[in-house]
């Protein structure tokens, strides 16, 4: 076991990426994720890597596209408005079946919004953001330590499935410091990349990376083939953490920072005799629908707690499928819900005073 160090979430992501073998970082500064780029700028030149501050987010994501095509482990990071700019490039990378890691340390939106923490990019992360039939694999850490382990896993999952993987954090997780360990358990795998465009040396046919198909049948074929990959990810890669779920009458659900606040609220509710439990999705896509479905067999009600106006709540409703009422509580625009507000909402639900 290695020594614990005190680190900001953003710095921990950067260090973990380097440990995972990432040697190319392309980005553009934006609060509250700039420490990722700053860390990369400092470290990459010392280890033979490349840090490049592009002239814009659009440029940075297309550099990622190129490096990924050449088989490199590559990452970019941004925050909400910057992520919108990257949307086009992300769609191309998904369409070209290339692996990369994209970090979004979410801030309040829409538009330039604010710079304080939010979770209002859930739809953008899980439902698209760019155009076309595609998915990102979306990982949602809720501690600095998990930002390390999930960053390393993100590179492996990206290579394993040839898919862009998004690490979805928020300003609180990016800025806060917690003790972290970079242990030897977090070893990253090496994947062969015979598809990479690294030169044929006249020994094989050209590898071609392309997302343009003029024949509808041909395009449909590639999309259906890609769907098989998505199905396999749904089968094998769902991650979720539950607590106090066995006897839970009130199932609270949250990811990232809000799951930490829900944890505090649920401890309080349990002390006061309310049977409250927690479902915390770690993969937001694929969504752990089956966990909610099972919990709906016994739960009186569900409550989604988000730093948004209600986005993940829609996936919970689909999973619960009418078997139990699904409520929502959220604060947004950079305002963070308090444990007391959540406790009060659950009491309203228990007392029959809350409408869905």
């Amino acid at each position: 076991m290695s020594e614990k160090v005190l680190m900001k979430g953003n710095e921990a992501i950067a260090e973990a990426a380097i440990l995972a073998g990432c040697r190319y970082f392309f980005g553009y500064p934006i609060t509250p994720q700039t420490e990722i780029a700053a860390y990369m700028a400092k470290k990459m030149p010392k280890i033979g890597g490349t840090f490049l501050q592009a002239e814009s987010e659009v440029s940075a994501i297309n550099m990622v596209y190129g490096a990924a095509g050449a088989g490199a482990r590559v990452m970019t990071s941004s925050s909400s408005p910057g992520m919108s700019l990257k949307g086009e490039g992300i769609s191309y990378i998904a369409g070209a079946d290339l692996p990369c890691v994209i970090v979004n340390i979410v801030r309040g939106g829409p538009g330039l919004g604010g710079i304080q923490p939010a979770q209002s990019d859930y739809f953008q992360a899980t439902k698209g953001g760019g155009h076309g039939d595609y998915h990102l694999l979306v990982l949602a850490p809720n501690s600095v330590q998990e930002m390390v382990s999930l960053t390393i896993d993100a590179f492996d999952l990206a290579d394993k499935y040839r898919i862009p993987v998004m690490l979805l954090g928020d300003g609180t997780l990016g800025q806060m410091m917690e003790p972290v360990e970079f242990s030897n358990d977090n070893i990253s795998h090496v994947y062969e990349k015979p598809w990479a465009t690294v030169g044929t040396q006249k020994k094989r046919k050209h590898n071609i990376i392309n997302t343009l198909y003029m024949s509808p049948e041909e395009l449909e074929y590639t999309i259906i083939e890609r769907q098989k990959k998505y199905n396999s990810i749904v089968q094998n890669e769902i991650r979720c953490e539950t607590s106090y779920l066995e006897d839970a009458e009130y199932v609270l659900s949250a990811y990232g920072t809000s799951s930490r606040i829900v944890e505090t609220a649920v401890h309080q509710l349990r002390k006061e005799g309310y049977k409250a439990g927690i479902i915390r999705p770690i993969t937001l896509w694929p969504f752990p629908s089956h966990i909610y479905k099972k919990a709906a067999e016994h739960a009186k009600a569900f409550l989604s707690v988000e730093m948004s106006m209600g986005q993940m709540v829609e996936d919970i409703m689909l999973a619960v499928n009418g078997k139990a009422p699904v409520h929502f509580f959220g604060r947004t625009g950079g305002v963070i819900p308090t444990p007391a507000e959540i406790v009060s909402k659950v009491k309203d639900i228990a007392g029959g005073n809350a409408s869905e």
Partner: protein
């Protein structure tokens, strides 16, 4: 060392975040669960800054402190903002040199310390944060002095260790104030 929810608040440039980092680091070394959360934004020297340090026996749930056990207040706006949020029976440490009013609460312990004045006597007003940390230690017994001394040494770059000595001196001055 005890479990505490601590808010440190003042002007940007007073070393608010660094003071919080020292406490978080010392608690981590002592085997506690901790989190350190800074305010962030368009902040600069002279603006407001604060940080939330949670020290706990259990894994930390919310890193955002709504009702602190301890408020270390280094300017008037931060006292105005956080005074009423401190829990009943909690502690407020006030830099008397910079804050021109008394704490109005009667259900909290209050320690007034001439932190900035003491720091200036030591040669640098920027040492006031260390004076406040010292006063906080004395008032709450949250840490023993050596734990923070060690944290100071570990959190100052090797090339600038001369500063650690000065910081420790300021902290001890606050402890004895």
């Amino acid at each position: 060392m005890k479990s505490e929810n601590i808010i440190i608040a003042g002007f940007g440039g007073q070393g608010i975040l660094f003071a919080g980092k020292l406490l978080a680091y010392a608690a981590m070394v002592a085997g506690k669960e901790i989190s350190w959360l800074p305010s962030y934004g368009p902040e600069m020297r002279g603006g407001t800054a604060n940080c939330h340090v949670v020290i706990s026996e259990e894994p930390v749930g919310s890193p955002i402190i709504v009702n602190p056990d301890v408020l270390i207040s280094m300017n008037r706006p931060s006292l105005d903002k956080f005074e009423n949020s401190v829990i009943e029976g909690g502690t407020i440490v006030v830099d008397k040199s910079l804050i021109d009013r008394k704490v109005t609460r009667t259900d909290v312990r209050v320690k007034y310390v001439e932190a900035t004045k003491i720091a200036m006597e030591l040669g640098n007003a920027a040492l006031a944060n260390m004076v406040m940390v010292g006063a906080f230690l004395k008032e709450t017994g949250a840490f023993i002095l050596d734990e923070i001394k060690d944290a100071i040494v570990k959190n100052i770059p090797k090339t600038k260790q001369a500063l650690a000595e000065i910081d420790i001196k300021a902290m001890v001055a606050g402890y004895n104030a």
